[in-house]
Symmetry: C2
Subunit: 252 residues, 2 copies
């Protein structure tokens, strides 16, 4: 017997931003390998499954990728329905390709279930469209975080070419990001928003100009965060999500 | 009485790629304004709501944007829970900002519920990560489609700067897109995939090199489609989704 592995996007955080398909797969799953940041209520949907935390969190390396790949292959040989639950969308900064390649090499059947990615959840929280007629007709998602074999790639070029840009895994080096972009021509006045813990109870956003991004990032401490850059954010104001602001930024 | 308007992403097509939050809001909705491409099974979740089709389809202008804005404002003055259901994600090529602005100007409360955008659904169908260590650390979503006041903006610059690129609303002018990108330095051998009706029963994909994109697009006729460009797609093969391939590309 060989089972099937589903690489499933858990979405940005709030348990009800999971897809119906993902919820159904969790209910049926025999074993779930999940990132550290997946919400406990989401994991509870996997009633009958063995649950194994394997994710990396904020760059802290918890379980080596090669070991995760091997566990997925092994699990498919002993379980009918294996779920690999990843924060956000599996195919955007999720290192899913390494898991897909391992499954293909082992001849294991797999399928991918997309999820809400952090930048779109952050945008929904802020209430500003990433595209806008006359102002933004393209959007770039980028990370400055380098991995093995990536030293040669230039993250800033695509950020500078974009009308609107979302930077993943960048808050820890926000001052350096801002300096790099400004040195290469970005305006110090370019509107920027850091959104922390989007869709979760600790949600917070700080709206600044690019020149002040580093100082703003220093105020962000705990949750996962996305940096949004672009003229579309010119009107955004900083906010913590309180009872008053919740209705605007989040559905019940 | 003034109600609240939820701008809700319906996802890429398959009804079970709706979020749990969106499904719950549809169940509670008093009135739903929806795009033409939203799946009938998704609309059926809105059991008690009046349902009004207002969307534009493939550039055919069905209901003027200004008229939609006005109807949303009017509906919030006579209904408690108004849902504006948009294909994909509301804040990516959805013209949501015009609706948000109209609601803000009228003092109507609103919230945004993100959805799975077409490029991520297409990627899940193809089974290839948009980012990949050593090969792609940024992703650009772009449309060459111009609207009023956008003639001056250069869509190709961000596409050329991206490691991986998804082109929305571009299949109708694919030959021109390929010619433009090649004239500005893109390799004729750049891998391209057109994914049509991702997540739906008519799902189909054609994998070609950029130089052959126009000919491939001419074979796509019916459904909404996304063009994916980038080295990450080098191994993709053309396919219609059949019983054999469904397991790999789709859950349930």
């Amino acid at each position: 017997m060989t089972g099937i592995v589903y690489l499933v996007g858990a979405g940005p955080g709030a348990p009800d931003l999971l897809t119906l398909r993902a919820a159904e797969l969790l209910r049926r799953a025999d074993i779930v390998f999940h990132d550290a940041l997946v919400h406990p209520d989401t994991l509870m949907l996997a009633e009958k499954a063995e649950k194994i935390a394997v994710g990396k969190r904020c760059g802290r390396h918890s379980t080596a990728q090669r070991f995760i790949n091997k566990r997925l292959v092994d699990a498919a040989r002993t379980h009918e329905l294996v779920v690999r639950l990843k924060g956000g969308d599996p195919l955007l900064f999720g290192r899913a390709q390494e898991e897909i390649d391992a499954l293909e090499q082992a001849g294991i059947e797999y399928a991918i279930v997309p999820g809400i990615t952090a930048a779109l959840a952050a945008s929904a929280a802020v209430g500003v469209s990433m595209t806008r007629r006359g102002l933004s007709r393209n959007v770039t998602f980028v990370t400055p975080r380098t991995g093995a074999g990536e030293q040669g790639r230039d993250w800033a070029r695509s950020a500078l070419a974009a009308d609107t840009c979302a930077i993943y895994m960048g808050v820890g080096e926000a001052a350096q990001i801002a300096a790099t972009l400004m040195a290469r021509g970005a305006s110090p006045d370019l509107p920027a928003v850091i959104v922390e813990s989007a869709t979760l109870s600790g949600e917070r956003r700080i709206a600044v100009r690019l020149a002040d991004l580093g100082a703003a990032a220093a105020q962000m401490i705990t949750g996962p965060a996305v940096i949004l850059l672009g003229e579309v954010y010119a009107r955004v104001q900083s906010a913590e999500v309180t009872a008053e602001t919740t209705a605007r930024s989040r559905a019940a």
